[in-house]
C-alpha cells in the first residue's frame, strides 16, 4: 500500500498505447498458440487497463510471481518444452502480459514495447503470407507510435513546462508513419543487398504437424467424406506450354506397403536409381511449392533427376528432401511424360510390390486370379481389369459409404462407389493378387493456368491417386483406373465433376466467375509475393547481383553493394533532415521592416536583436541625430502598423517610404565619435 502511494501514478495515455500494441501483437500471434494463452494474455492486458482507469487494483508482487510461475507451468504442461517457436511465442506472450501488470515507469513501458517487437517477430516467423503483411505493418506503426507517446510523456525526474497536453493521436501516427516511410527505401535496399546466408546458423526445428495435402498413408475405406480444399498446392511456370491434360500427373508419395486396408509410403527403398529413357520431348519448368511440413517435393511425372543436392531422387522417382517443406520454396526440374526404364526389376522390388496381406479381400483375390488366367499376358490382364471397372457399374463419389474390414471386396462387390484412392487401391490389389508388380502413386492431377501471370496452378482439390504396374518390355507403366470409372476426372477438376461435394466457399467461387477472376488476380499477386519476396534467398540474391553486372557474384560483392546502398540512403536522409529547419517567411510588413533595418545596418547602425522599433529609433536619434527626422517616423509608423489599432493601415505607403529612404554613412571622424559615445 505504502509502496503504491510512493510511486507516482502512470499517465494514462502512454499506458493505453502500450496496452494497445500489446493486445494487437497478441492477436497477431493468436494463430500460433493455444487459445487459452491468447485469452489469458488479453485478460491481463484488460486488467492493467482497468487498473489504470481506477476500476480495479493491480496485483501485488507475490501474486504476480505466482501468476508467472503458474503460467510457465501451464505452457510447459502443454508443450513439454519451452524451446521452439510455438511454446516460445506462448511464453513471450504471457511474459509481456505479466510485465504489463507491473508497468509504471517509462523504462517498464520501453521493456514492454521491446517484448511486443519480439511478438511481432514471432508472428513473422509464423506466417509470411501476403495477407498478413498489412497487419504486420500496422503493428509496426503502432509500436513506433507508442515509442513516440512514451518518449513525449514526462519522466519522473523531469518537470514539464508547461504541463504537457500530450500529443494528439493523429499527430503521433503521422509522425511515426512518416518516419517509417523514410525508412522504407533503406529497408528495400537492405533487403536486396544485405548479404544472405547460404544455410543456417543453427538447425531449424520443424513442427511435426502436417498442414494439408498428401499424406504418407492412404486408407480409402475409412474416408467417407473428402472435402476438396481450394488452397494452392503448388504453382508451376513452364518454359514452353503446359502439358496436355492427360499428362498433368504430378508425382508425390509412392505407396508400396498394403495391409489389406491401408497403404503406406516408405518402408521400402528400391536399390539405386534406374536410368530413364525419355521417349518424348522433356518439359522444363519451375515449381513454387507451398509449405506442407512433409518431405516430398512434387514434380511432373516422371521427373528425370533431383533439383537440389538436399533432395534424394529415389528408385521409384520420388523427390524426398532432407528437411520438411515448412516455407514456400521453388526449384527447377525436367520431366518426361513418356519415360521408360528397361533395366530389369530387381527380385527384392518384385517381392515388395507383389506382397499382399494374406487372407484379406479373398473375393478380389479370386476374381483377379480368374481374370489373369483368362488373359494371355500381364498387359491383357490390365486391360481386362480396366474393362471390369468400366462396365461393372462403378461410380465416382467423394462421399462414399464406409467399406468395413475387407475394403477392396466391399468396394468391388457391394458399394461400387468411391474416389480415386479406392480405385487405385483396388486396381493395385488385383494386380498383386495375380502376381503383377504394382504400386499406388499419390499426387495431383490437373491444374489451371492463371491468366494474370501465366502460372499453372495446382490446388489441393486436384489431389489424386493412380497405379503403376510393371509390364515386361515396358517397365513401370502408369494406369489410372479412376479415368476408366469417371473419364471426366481427367479433364476437369473435382469442382466440375462433383459440384455437390465441395464446401460452400468453393462453390461460391465456382458459381460466380467474377469472384473466381478476382481470386485469380489475388493469387497472381500472392504468387509474386511468394516468389520474389518470401523466396528471395541467397541464390536469388546472387542472381540479382549477376544481373546488375557483378562479374563473380559472391558474398563479398553483396557486401559492397550493400555498403553502397546504405551510403546512398544515408546521404539522402541526411540531406532531407540535416538542413537547418527553414525560417518562416515574414509577412509583407515584416519584409519591409527587414529591408529598412538592413539599410540602416549597412551604414553601421544595426538593430540589436532585443531592440524593438521604438528603442531602435532612440538609438538612431542618439547616434545619428541628422537621420532622426527621416528614420524615426518610419520606425514609429512600423510600430503603429504592427501593434496599433487596425485602422487606416497604409501598408503601401510604408513600403514606398522604406524603398525611397536613402541613408549614408557619416564622415569617418563623426562616426568614430558616435561609436565612442555609444560605448559610454
Amino acid at each position: 500500500m505504502s509502496a503504491a502511494r510512493l510511486v507516482p501514478p502512470t499517465p494514462r495515455s502512454p499506458l493505453s498505447w502500450v496496452c494497445a500494441t500489446g493486445a494487437a501483437a497478441m492477436l497477431l500471434d493468436a494463430t500460433q498458440v493455444a487459445a487459452w494463452v491468447t485469452i489469458v494474455a488479453l485478460g491481463l492486458v484488460g486488467w492493467r487497463l482497468a487498473a489504470a482507469f481506477g476500476a480495479v487494483r493491480l496485483p501485488g508482487g507475490i501474486v504476480r510471481i505466482a501468476l508467472g510461475l503458474a503460467l510457465v507451468a501451464a505452457v510447459f504442461a502443454q508443450f513439454h518444452t519451452l524451446n521452439g517457436l510455438a511454446p516460445g511465442t506462448a511464453m513471450l506472450m504471457l511474459m509481456v502480459a505479466i510485465k504489463l501488470l507491473e508497468t509504471r515507469s517509462r523504462r517498464d513501458q520501453y521493456v514492454v514495447i521491446g517484448g511486443v517487437l519480439f511478438l511481432l517477430l514471432a508472428a513473422c516467423l509464423g506466417g509470411q503470407e501476403l495477407m498478413r503483411v498489412p497487419l504486420y505493418a500496422m503493428e509496426a506503426l503502432l509500436c513506433c507510435s507508442a515509442l513516440a507517446v512514451v518518449a513525449y510523456a514526462p519522466d519522473a525526474d523531469t518537470k514539464a513546462f508547461p504541463a504537457p497536453a500530450g500529443l494528439r493521436t493523429r499527430a503521433v501516427i503521422v509522425l511515426a508513419g512518416r518516419t517509417l516511410l523514410y525508412a522504407l527505401p533503406l529497408s528495400v535496399l537492405l533487403f536486396l543487398f544485405f548479404p544472405r546466408l547460404p544455410g543456417h546458423f543453427w538447425a531449424v526445428q520443424s513442427g511435426d504437424d502436417a498442414l494439408t495435402g498428401l499424406g504418407d498413408t492412404l486408407t480409402p475405406g475409412s474416408i467417407t467424406q473428402l472435402t476438396a480444399s481450394y488452397d494452392i498446392a503448388f504453382r508451376v511456370r513452364f518454359d514452353g506450354g503446359p502439358p496436355a491434360p492427360d499428362e498433368r500427373y504430378w508425382r508425390g508419395p509412392v505407396m508400396h506397403v498394403f495391409d489389406g486396408s491401408t497403404w503406406k509410403a516408405g518402408g521400402y527403398s528400391p536399390g539405386g536409381t534406374q536410368r530413364l529413357d525419355c521417349l518424348s520431348p522433356p518439359y522444363r519448368y519451375r515449381i513454387f511449392l507451398e509449405p506442407t511440413s512433409r518431405h516430398w517435393w512434387l514434380a511432373l511425372d516422371t521427373v528425370m533427376g533431383s533439383p537440389s543436392a538436399n533432395v534424394r531422387y529415389t528408385g521409384d522417382y520420388q523427390l524426398i528432401a532432407a528437411q520438411p517443406v515448412d516455407r514456400p520454396l521453388s526449384y527447377s526440374a525436367v520431366s518426361c511424360a513418356d519415360a521408360r526404364s528397361l533395366a530389369p526389376l530387381s527380385p527384392g522390388a518384385r517381392l515388395a510390390d507383389t506382397r499382399l496381406a494374406p487372407g484379406r479381400n479373398p473375393r478380389t483375390f479370386a476374381l483377379a486370379s480368374r481374370l489373369r488366367a483368362r488373359a494371355g499376358s500381364d498387359a491383357a490382364f490390365v486391360q481386362a481389369v480396366l474393362a471390369f471397372l468400366h462396365t461393372g457399374g462403378f461410380s465416382y463419389s467423394l462421399t462414399p459409404p464406409p467399406l468395413g474390414s475387407q475394403p477392396v471386396d466391399a468396394l468391388l462387390f457391394q458399394t461400387r462407389t468411391g474416389f480415386c484412392g479406392h480405385y487405385a487401391s483396388a486396381f493395385v490389389d488385383m494386380m498383386r493378387a495375380a502376381g503383377v508388380p504394382a504400386r499406388v502413386v499419390t499426387g495431383y492431377l490437373g491444374g489451371q493456368v492463371n491468366p494474370y501471370d501465366g502460372t499453372f496452378i495446382v490446388r489441393q482439390s486436384d489431389a489424386h491417386a493412380w497405379a503403376e504396374v510393371w509390364l515386361e518390355g515396358r517397365g513401370w507403366t502408369r494406369v489410372d483406373p479412376t479415368a476408366v470409372v469417371a473419364p471426366g476426372r481427367l479433364y476437369s477438376g473435382i469442382l466440375d465433376l462433383l459440384p455437390g461435394s465441395v464446401s460452400a466457399p468453393e462453390r461460391l467461387v465456382h458459381a460466380w466467375p467474377w469472384l473466381g477472376a478476382a481470386l485469380e488476380r489475388w493469387e497472381a499477386v500472392n504468387g509474386w509475393w511468394n516468389d520474389s519476396v518470401v523466396g528471395f534467398n541467397y541464390s536469388a540474391q546472387l542472381d540479382l547481383l549477376g544481373a546488375l553486372g557483378f562479374r563473380s557474384p559472391e558474398l563479398r560483392d553483396a557486401g559492397w553493394a550493400f555498403a553502397a546502398a546504405l551510403l546512398a540512403w544515408l546521404a539522402w536522409v541526411s540531406w532531407q533532415f540535416g538542413k537547418e529547419p527553414g525560417r518562416p517567411r515574414p509577412d509583407r510588413l515584416g519584409r519591409a521592416y527587414q529591408r529598412l533595418c538592413r539599410k540602416l545596418a549597412r551604414i553601421g547602425l544595426p538593430r540589436a536583436p532585443d531592440q524593438g522599433p521604438l528603442a531602435y529609433a532612440q538609438t538612431i536619434v542618439r547616434l545619428r541625430p541628422d537621420l532622426a527626422p527621416r528614420v524615426r517616423p518610419l520606425l514609429e509608423s512600423y510600430a503603429e502598423l504592427r501593434f496599433g489599432p487596425p485602422v487606416n493601415r497604409d501598408l503601401r505607403a510604408f513600403e514606398r517610404a522604406v524603398a525611397h529612404l536613402s541613408v549614408r554613412r557619416r564622415a569617418p571622424s563623426l562616426t568614430r565619435r558616435a561609436l565612442s559615445s555609444r560605448e559610454t
Binding site: L147, Y152, F161
Partner: protein
C-alpha cells in the same frame, strides 16, 4: 568519462555568448538505453530472419533499422537551430532554491518538442516550442555559499521524437547569480542611530514625507504610481515617501557579536531583511564600503549584494 567529455567540449566549443544559436558543430548525439535495447532487438530480428531465411522478418528488421536511423536525424533536428536568447537568475539567499529563467527562441517552421534544459547536476525542465515561437522556462537553482555563483554549464537536450536517441549540447554561458548570505542570527535590530541625514528631517505633522519620483519597477504598488504624470505621457513613475515615524539605522559589522565573519554577515542580512520589511531607512557600513541610508528593493539588493561579495574583492 562524463567529466572528461564535458571538459573536452568546453575546450572545443570555447565560451559562449548570448544570444546563442545551436549550430551543428556543438550538437552531440548518442543512443539512449531504450535506443540500445531497440538496436539489440533489431539485430535479433536480423539474425532470426537470416537463420530461418524468413524474408518478412528480415524486412521488419530492416524497416526498424531504417526507422531508428531516421529517428536519429529527427532527434538532431529537434534542437538544431534553436536559440537561447537569454539566461538570467534573480539573486537568491544561500541554501535556498532560486530559479534561472531561460528564454528560448524557435525561429523555424517546425515545432520543437520536449527540449530539456538542466543546470549540471540538477533536474531537467522540459519545454515545447511552437513553430516560430518563444518559450521561457525556470530552472530550479540551488544556491550554495554566499558570493557570486557562476552557472558553470547548462545542458540542453532532447530525446524527441521516439526516445531512441538523446541529442544534447553544453552551453557555457556567462550567467552569474548573486547569492546573499543566509539571514540568520537572533540579535535585535540595532536601535535608531539617531543621526538623521539632511534629506529626511522628521516631519512634525506626522504626514508622510515626499521623497521624490523614481522609475517604476516590478513589484511597486499601483497606488504609488504617479498616474497623473503618466497621463501626461511621461514614463511610469513612482512616488516615494518616507513614512512618518520611520527610523534610520546604520548597520555595521561592529554591531554584530558573532565569533566568525560568516555568522556576522548572516546577522547583517537578517537585519537588512527585517528593516526592509518594516519599511525603515537603513544603511550599511562594511570595511571599505559604505552605503548611505535609503530604502526600497534596489537598496535592499545593494546592501545584500555588498554582504554577498564581502571579502571577495
Amino acid at each position: 568519462v562524463r567529466q572528461r567529455a564535458a571538459e573536452w567540449a568546453r575546450r572545443r566549443q570555447g565560451p559562449d555568448r548570448l544570444p546563442l544559436t545551436l549550430g551543428r558543430r556543438r550538437l552531440y548525439i548518442l543512443p539512449t538505453r531504450a535506443g540500445i535495447g531497440f538496436a539489440v532487438s533489431v539485430v535479433t530480428m536480423l539474425v532470426a530472419g537470416l537463420n530461418y531465411t524468413n524474408s518478412v522478418a528480415l524486412l521488419l528488421a530492416f524497416v526498424l533499422a531504417g526507422f531508428a536511423l531516421v529517428a536519429m536525424h529527427q532527434c538532431h533536428r529537434n534542437v538544431l537551430g534553436l536559440s537561447l536568447l537569454g539566461a538570467a537568475a534573480a539573486p537568491v539567499f544561500a541554501g535556498s532554491t532560486g530559479s534561472l529563467r531561460l528564454t528560448l527562441e524557435n525561429a523555424s517552421r517546425l515545432g520543437r518538442y520536449r527540449v530539456e534544459v538542466a543546470v549540471a547536476g540538477e533536474g531537467a525542465v522540459a519545454l515545447d516550442l511552437p513553430a516560430d515561437g518563444h518559450g521561457q522556462l525556470d530552472l530550479p537553482l540551488r544556491a550554495g555559499r554566499r558570493g557570486l555563483q557562476r552557472i558553470d554549464r547548462l545542458r540542453l537536450s532532447s530525446t524527441h521524437p521516439f526516445g531512441l536517441f538523446r541529442v544534447w549540447t553544453w552551453i557555457h554561458a556567462p550567467v552569474t547569480v548573486v547569492v546573499y548570505p543566509r539571514p540568520a542570527g537572533s540579535l535585535p535590530l540595532p536601535a535608531d542611530s539617531g543621526a538623521r541625514s539632511g534629506t529626511t528631517p522628521r516631519d512634525t505633522t506626522g504626514a508622510d514625507e515626499w521623497l521624490g519620483l523614481r522609475p517604476f519597477r516590478d513589484g511597486d504598488s499601483p497606488r504609488q504610481v504617479a498616474w497623473k504624470a503618466y497621463a501626461r505621457e511621461a514614463p511610469l513613475l513612482v512616488k516615494e515617501y518616507s513614512s512618518a515615524g520611520s527610523t534610520l539605522r546604520m548597520l555595521s559589522l561592529e554591531q554584530t557579536r558573532q565569533p566568525d565573519i560568516e555568522s556576522r554577515l548572516a546577522q547583517l542580512a537578517r537585519w537588512i531583511v527585517d528593516a526592509d520589511a518594516r519599511g525603515d531607512l537603513y544603511g550599511l557600513e562594511l570595511p571599505g564600503e559604505r552605503i548611505a541610508a535609503h530604502r526600497g528593493p534596489d537598496h535592499r539588493h545593494r546592501c545584500l549584494a555588498a554582504l554577498a561579495l564581502h571579502g571577495s574583492r
